[in-house]
Subunit: 305 residues, 2 copies
């Protein structure tokens, strides 16, 4: 069972408008909401692909209740810490008829000092039940900057592998704890390590503690670096439909591969195929098994260093 | 006691951003929410000015709960029908550092056919306790187009006066029931009656059943038309700070004047003074007694026809 950790989940709203009148008044034509946050998305993909998973994190307030209801109604297993000292943030995607999307992200809740300790107790209880931990996304103000380092160490103490998919300070602070795999995108990795290019940045992340670095590079697929070498995994040329959530699909596949202890090229091939399948589906972060099968065959993996 | 009716209330969110990146991702700097809807605003002003009031309407779902909590915490008396067959809509004001504001309004909830009858029973119970009814704002999809005509007739049957502040079809359909006063702004009146100018449009609204027409005209104040003549009421020249809610402040004052059966010029003078006081306060729809006193003295009322 793969445990996904989303410390800064969100209630993701999508509002459709004809054409956004900036500075004016806009009538929303259609409104929908769903549970959001990168770890939640990873669990959703795992569930679609039949891999046992449970999503955790901290939710609170009315948006937190809606998030839980949505996880229930979508059949995504969860063991969230419900704590009304925080109110789960919302995000809004304003979608115009011409396809343009404007995103507004509320900051995460501040929360009381003792929430971090309450969350760690909640986490510890879950570590006995799972095989691997995935930490995904931004950190809320109530969590320390090295939150993912702490989770990684607790996972390792429980003899579990740990994957970290984060940006900037959260990623940098996680590295010394030696996460089994980090999965930034190219821009995030350069930001966290100082660059100058993706291979050098990957080497820096390894030297700072990561055991494997897998960099997502959009249509170019993945670049993977570990102590044994460097790999490239490329999908076939695609007509992208909805790239949102493609990185989370890759993380879901990487988690499955690490748990199964598959050969590294096979792990990377699956990650590219799941990610590409997500890009081809109109609903964000949705992966269909039929697309995966075709894309797995068409994905090229080779050692480049 | 003045009963305000808000059939399409909203949870009003304000999100501050640096500068809105349309088609991009925006970090929300500050987030706040409050109970919204024009009748709710009228009750809020009445309460600030010490006039007994109670706000009613229909709320449901998580945003409805937040709306009720906000009414409680602001001390605004309410007797909302809580009905979870509808989910209260939200509105969002995106405020940029340069002061530009972009508004997004969710449509009202659809609701089941029987909700209208449930609401009317709820209303009937309240009519025994109040002196005047104010109907404000748009109608949700679950209410019939002539909703304000039905409320006006029930108010009259209970020997209560009724004010309607609405737009378009909702205003037009209310007129035959003979509301004691309608308070559209100039654009709304022209839209509801076909124009061609504000005086002719006022006469049309009277001929269609309104007993008094009071038209709000921004910095020019109010134009009032009834069977006995036409009045103009003008505030002094102002440096507007926040015009949002000025019309609702005028309606609150008109309601107080009708209940007290004051001379018509005094009623209009108060309405202009409260409205101008709201324009001068940074918080939307906030009226302070000290500003009102000064503005009442400086407001000019004269019969012009």
């Amino acid at each position: 069972m793969i445990l996904t950790v989303t410390l800064n989940p969100a209630w993701d709203l999508t509002w459709s408008v004809d054409s956004l009148a900036v500075g004016g008044t806009n009538r929303v034509q259609q409104s929908s909401g769903r549970a959001g946050g990168k770890g939640v998305n990873v669990s959703r993909v795992l569930r679609q692909m039949g891999a046992p998973t449970v999503a955790t994190g901290v939710v609170g307030g009315a948006p937190g209740q809606r998030l839980l209801e949505d996880l229930d109604s979508s059949g995504t297993p969860h063991r969230m810490l419900v704590d009304d000292s925080v109110e789960t943030r919302s995000t809004l995607a304003v979608r115009e008829t011409d396809g343009r999307v404007t995103i507004l992200n509320e900051p995460g809740p501040v929360g009381p000092a003792e929430l971090w300790a309450r969350w760690l107790s909640h986490l510890d209880a879950l570590l006995h039940e799972v095989a691997l931990v995935v930490c995904s996304g931004s950190l809320p103000p109530w969590a320390p900057e090295d939150a993912y380092a702490v989770v990684t160490r607790r996972a390792h103490a429980a003899r579990l592998r740990c994957i970290v998919d984060a940006d900037g300070a959260a990623l940098r602070a996680a590295l010394p704890a030696g996460p089994d795999l980090v999965k930034p995108n190219e821009e995030e990795l350069l930001r966290a390590t100082g660059g100058p290019d993706v291979r050098a940045a990957g080497a820096t992340a390894l030297s700072q503690g990561a055991q494997r670095v897998v960099v997502s590079r959009g249509p170019q697929g993945l670049l993977a670096v570990d102590s044994t070498g460097t790999w490239e995994a490329r999908p076939p040329a695609l007509q992208p439909v909805n790239p949102t959530g493609a990185g989370d699909a890759a993380v879901a596949a990487l988690a499955v591969g690490l748990v199964a202890e598959e050969p590294w090229p096979d792990v990377l091939r699956r990650a590219v195929a799941w990610s590409a399948a997500a890009v081809l589906h109109p609903a964000a972060g949705t992966v269909e098994a039929s697309a995966v099968e075709r894309l797995t065959a068409a994905t090229e993996v080779r050692q480049v260093g």
